[in-house]
Structures are given as structure tokens and as C-alpha cells.
Symmetry: C2
Subunit: 409 residues, 2 copies
């Protein structure tokens, strides 16, 4: 199940960036499951990773290799991604496997081991099938290309329970030059990113200095991947990477940064929303907008409390305007000295709650008409300050239970 | 659905306590939906109520009436409970209705209005059908009795989506006297009590001074109703009441208090667990035991994070030993400077996780054998200190979605 029909967009080439994909049979035969992304040696690279204390071996290795490259002035030129196995909860053996897969690709391409960053996604706790993965590498390398088909195959090659590949592209003028930003992402369940989503890979041809690139990645992820939730479960493997190849316009002045940040935010938000639209069992795409909070943290607290409520999510699935469940979820959110008489809740353009109870103007017919829609916005005004937050989520359906009760079988 | 087959126990009379039930047709015809519990004027009474900021009108009135009784040396002698309507999110009109229902019963019984405490449970945001409720009162009053049948009918008269009535009784010797503690409770969904469960009513014939009674209620609820969760949603109407009628043994000395607290804890825990066994769509009863935490708060944080994880709950439903999901949930729990290499996780008597990954001794067959059971204990040892917590929860099934996607229709 998924919300709407969103085809994979046509991603234009980004100079110096090539993508290769193979069917290595990591978990199942005849599906793209191994992806190599190549960057030019002019690139700057930034990454954000899961905050889950049980972070997977490839996350630990990717972080260590990033640091090593920075200290030795090397570019992490290869991103090696496999699906079908998360290499998480695999202890020492998992670390050895992640390092060995980097070493294999590095020797193939003639770069240092630390220039390869590994990413894995799939089932947790099974050993990575190294033989198959290593056998697939030459095939992935031989297919390296910069075509839009190569981007689409890479988008497909990182999926797990996703029902479709997810990509986004924006082209924007910086001075008299065009800058392109391409991204692909995957994720459908175990989605409550805390730093980044399951996996996101974004590349631009702009030239962006390292520390600025890191800042831009953090800022835009904070308002995209860090604002989505399917099921409140933060993955062990979350990672979002951003590379700037440097062949295009240089991003330096405040104005250039503003235009570029805006374009990058569009790509990040589109990718993050694509994950929700393809959330496990999703039949609805829900936007939760919390306004007039005392702090952004408070606004996020209210938005996520509502977004995680199984009772709100099942009511959304049923298209039932059971607004009492929204009210009950808001009422248990982490807000100090909460005066609920100031709270105003709107469902689409229908006022649900004011003065501590159901709005006088509310009718069941009006509420039901909004709930019947596939895309629904819930606005919660706290009346406490001027901060706000927007969070995107999906509903909780029979299909969600089916997918997660059957995933390993 | 529900876990196991738990008949309503035979509750013995508690001197001076009578219960009456009526079919008032609050929401549906031909079901017990209005209950009156009468206490003698020798009783002490304590209560704990929901922390949800949107607390329901009857909760606000019950708290105000309790305070008034305390300051005027009156006993809150009548508990008036209706199911089928929560009288929550109903604003000023809801307050008027709650007060009017107290006034009606008070004038019927010849007591002050503040001596009646109202409790409501059911759908949120609909006006309380006062005409039907008031018409039902005389019938409930005329059926007041202390028989075990009266207890069972009262247990039935407070249910909503519950599949069965829930009661518990313990008799214990205090010196040369027998003390009886009887309790009934209801709750199945919107269960993540924060002070008390949806509704719990416990009565003893012991004589317990007011402030001691309040302390005992808080302490025992903290380790029973406050340690259960079905779906992480805290209700607007939670309340747990405890009355000591004073006709039996006096509880004063440290030893008497210890024996009585122990017996009371047994009743509270049995009632709280009964809610989980009858959790919406429950097919499994799960005990989460977190040991060797730095603080009890930390232990509760880990236990509830795992208990709320939809991915853990669907794996339990599927009897799938997908222990990676437990590990991932533990890893995202609110624990400062978390060294996961010290974490040990056992599923029943099977070791799942140690040294940051899957235990060397683990086999899928052993894990699956435990997961196939109807009652499962997950032990998580954090290796950080000496505090612990136990939390009880149910699984997440297709039936849960069905119940909550259909509840209002």
C-alpha cells in the first residue's frame, strides 16, 4: 500500500557522479541489492547518522572512515550500499565484514580503504553474506554510469519493504550558473529518524566548503528526515549523506547560501515525504502542524505525540473524525503547565477544538468530509508562544500489521 | 480477543459496601451501563486521577468533591459510574452535566452533592445523555446489594471495549482479624495510565487513616496500573479509587502496614494485569523486566520504549523471534551515555543479546519456542546500577486495528 501514485523522477546527470547496481542475491535472487556511488576527487562530503545506541557496524565504519578522510585530506569517493541485511547487532564479526567489504571495493578502484563508506539496510542480526556481496561488487562497478537510468536503478537497489523507488531533483540558478541537486532515499518502516532517515543519498554539482556542507545537511535534515515518523521506531542504520562535487557554482555568499539551502531543503523534504507516502501500510499522508508553541522542542513534542498515537492513526485509517483521540493525545504531550483552554485544533479547514472542548461550529459531516481525503492536515495551535513545527506521518492499517508480522518469513 | 480464560472471581461482601447496577441505555440498549457504589460513613477514601491535560469533566468534579469532603469532614459515600460516554472534551456543558448527575443521586440518597463522585468512560466528545442517565439512577439504587452477584454486575457495568469483567480479591490476616480487599477495573484500549488506569474501584473493610490510605494507593498504583500499557495513549478519564470502610482491623503499626500493603499490591497488580490480558486485540501477555538500571526512571524508560514499539509488538503477535527489533528499541530508549556492550537481553530463559550483538549461544529454534508461548517475559539487564522496573503490555494484532478503526461505528 502507498499513498498516491508517485513515479520516480527523471534525474539529470551530476558531473563526475556515477552509479552502479548489481543483483548479488544478498537475501533474494533477481533483485537489485548492491549499489556503488562514485564521487569525483574534488567533492566535499557530509553525513549524519542514527542516534540509536545500538548503531550498526556499517554506521560505525562509515563514521570512522569519514573522520579519517577529513584528517588525511582524502575524499570518501565511494558509497557502497547493500539491502537485504542491516549488518546490525552482529558484534565483532559485523565490524570485520563491514571493513572487508570496504577493502574489497577500495582495491578494485585503487583508492584507500577509508575512502569507501559502507551502508547496509534490511533484517537486523543476521551475518552479512560476504561471499555473495563480494561477488556482486565487480558487476556493480562495471555498470557505473551517470544516466538517469543509473539513478533509477540505484534508487531501486536500496529498497527493503518500500513499494517504490524514491528520488527528487531540483535545479536552481546561482548567479549565472545552474546548480543541480539529486537525491534518492529508502525507508518505509522503523521510521522515526533521529539525525537522518534509514538511508538518503544526495549529490550536487555545486562547490561547497566542508563545514558549510555539514551545517547545511544538519539544518535541512532537521526539518525533513527528522520530522517524519511511520511507527516511532528509530533504526540502527539511519544515514543521510550529502556530497558536493565542486564542478559547478561555488556557494559562498550569504545570498548564494540562502538560495542553495532553500533548494536543498526542497529535495530533502520531498525525499522525506516520499518515505511517508510509502510508509508501511500507509493509506493516508498526514501533515501535523503545531503553531504558537513556547519552543520548537515543545511543538515537536506535541506533533510527535499525536503522530505516534495508535488511536489517532487507526482513526485516520478508518476516516473516522474521532477528534477526541487527537485531543487526548495533545493532552498527554510533554508540555509544562498546559492550559488546554487555549488550544485550538483544526482538521483541514474545519475547527475541531476550542475553549477546552469541541468547537461550537463543528459538525460531524464537515469533519468526516476532511477525514475521507487521502492527504490531511491537522493544525494544533497551543497559544503559548511563537514557535512552530511540522511533522509528517502515515496512518496505522491492517496492512501495517500484516507487513510487520510477516517481514522475516 | 483476549489472553487466556479468566473468569470473574467470587468477590465476598465487604461490610457496609453495596453496589447497584442499571441498564440506562446510555449508548446501547440491554447492557449494564450505570453503576452506583455505596460506602458507609465510617470510610476513608483516596483517589488518583489522570495526568492528561484534557481531563474529563467527571474527573474535575470528582477531584473537587474529594477536596470539599476532606475540608468539611464528610465521607464521599457514593461513586456514580457510567459507561458508553466519557463526558470528555465537552467543555462547560460537560461540567454542568457531571454536577447535575451528582446532585440527582445526592438528593435521592439524602447526602450532600459533594459526597457523590462521578466517573465516566466511553466515547470522547459527545454530550452525556442526561435524561437516560437520570432515569437509570433509581433503578441502580433499588438494586444496591453486597452480594458477589452485585460485584459481578458492577464489574460488567463499567466495561467499554473490554471483552470481560475484571475483579480481584485478597483476604489477609492482620493480627487475629481477617481483612478483605475487593477490586474491579475496566480498560482495554487507550491504556497507558499516568496515575491510574481508566477506572479502578477498590474497597477494603480495614480501618486506614486518610493520609496513610493516600500513600498506600499511590505506592501500589505506581507499581501496577502505572506500569501497564496497551497502546501508549493516556486516557482523559483515568481514575483509581480506594476506600477503607473501617469495620475491620485497624492498619497502624509498621508490620500491619507491610502486610496490608502487600495484599493491596496483589489486588492492584492482578487488576492491572487483567487489563493487559484483555487489551484490545491482545493475543499475548508480555512482561518487560528491566534490571540493573541507574535509576528506576531509566528502567521504566527502557521498558516503556520496548513496550510501545509497534515493531516489537507486531513481532510478538507473529511469534517471530525478531530480536533485532527489541535491540533497536532498547537502543533508542532515553538513557544517557548508553554503553550497549553491557546490555544483556533474555527472552524467557533464552539469551538473545550480549556484548553488543546476538548471544553466541542463541539459536532461532530456542527463540521461536519462547515466542510461541502466550505469556512471555523479556528481561533486559542494563549493567548500569541496581534499580529495576517491571512493565506489562500486550501485542499489536490485526484485531487491534479492526477494533479501533470501527469503534465509533
Amino acid at each position: 500500500m502507498a499513498v498516491g501514485n508517485v513515479p520516480f523522477p527523471e534525474l539529470p546527470p551530476v558531473e563526475g557522479v556515477r552509479l552502479g547496481t548489481a543483483m548479488a542475491g544478498i537475501k533474494k535472487p533477481d533483485r537489485r541489492d548492491t549499489v556503488v556511488i562514485e564521487l569525483p576527487d574534488t567533492a566535499t562530503v557530509a553525513g549524519v547518522f542514527t542516534q540509536n545506541a545500538f548503531c550498526a557496524a556499517p554506521v560505525a565504519v562509515a563514521k570512522a572512515h569519514m573522520e579519517r578522510c577529513l584528517s588525511e585530506n582524502l575524499v570518501p569517493r565511494y558509497w557502497l550500499i547493500n539491502t537485504g541485511n542491516a549488518n546490525a547487532g552482529t558484534g565483532e564479526a559485523g565490524m570485520r565484514d563491514a571493513l572487508a567489504s570496504c577493502a574489497a571495493l577500495a582495491s578494485h578502484m585503487g583508492v584507500a580503504e577509508s575512502q569507501v563508506l559502507p551502508f547496509s539496510t534490511g533484517v537486523i542480526g543476521e551475518p552479512l553474506p560476504m561471499e555473495r556481496l563480494l561477488a556482486g561488487l565487480p558487476k556493480a562497478v562495471s555498470s557505473l554510469a551517470d544516466s538517469s537510468q543509473a539513478w533509477q536503478h540505484a534508487g531501486e537497489g536500496i529498497l527493503t519493504t518500500d513499494t517504490r523507488a524514491k528520488g527528487a531533483t531540483v535545479t536552481v540558478a546561482i548567479g549565472d550558473q545552474q546548480v543541480t541537486i539529486n537525491g534518492i532515499t529508502k525507508g518505509s518502516g522503523m521510521i522515526k529518524p533521529n539525525m537522518a532517515t534509514m538511508l538518503g543519498f544526495v549529490v550536487t554539482d555545486a562547490a561547497v566548503e566542508q563545514s558549510l556542507l555539514e551545517t547545511l545537511l544538519r539544518e535541512t535534515v532537521d526539518r525533513s528526515f527528522n520530522c517524519i515518523t511511520v511507527d516511532s521506531d528509530t533504526s540502527t542504520n539511519d544515514a543521510c549523506m550529502l556530497a558536493a562535487t565542486g564542478s559547478g557554482a561555488r556557494i559562498e555568499s550569504a545570498e548564494q547560501v540562502a538560495v542553495f539551502r532553500n533548494a536543498l531543503q526542497r529535495v530533502m523534504t520531498e525525499l522525506a515525504q516520499a518515505i511517508i507516502r510509502d510508509g508501511e501500510g500507509a493509506t493516508k499522508f498526514i501533515t501535523l502542524q503545531v503553531n504558537d508553541a513556547a519552543t520548537r522542542q515543545e511543538a515537536l513534542g506535541v506533533a510527535f505525540t499525536v503522530a505516534h498515537s495508535p488511536l489517532v492513526k487507526t482513526a485516520l485509517y478508518a476516516s473516522d473524525a474521532n477528534w477526541g483521540r487527537i485531543l487526548a493525545a495533545v493532552g498527554r504531550a510533554p508540555v509544562e503547565a498546559f492550559d488546554v483552554n487555549r488550544v485550538v485544533i483544526d482538521l483541514g479547514d474545519v475547527r475541531l477544538v476550542e475553549n477546552g472542548g469541541r468547537a461550537a461550529s463543528y459538525t460531524e459531516a464537515a469533519g468526516s468530509a476532511v477525514m475521507a481525503q487521502e492527504e490531511i492536515t491537522i493544525r494544533i495551535n497551543l497559544g503559548r508562544g511563537e514557535e512552530s513545527a511540522t511533522v509528517w506521518t502515515s496512518d496505522l492499517s491492517h496492512e501495517y500489521v500484516t507487513i510487520n508480522a510477516d517481514y522475516r518469513s
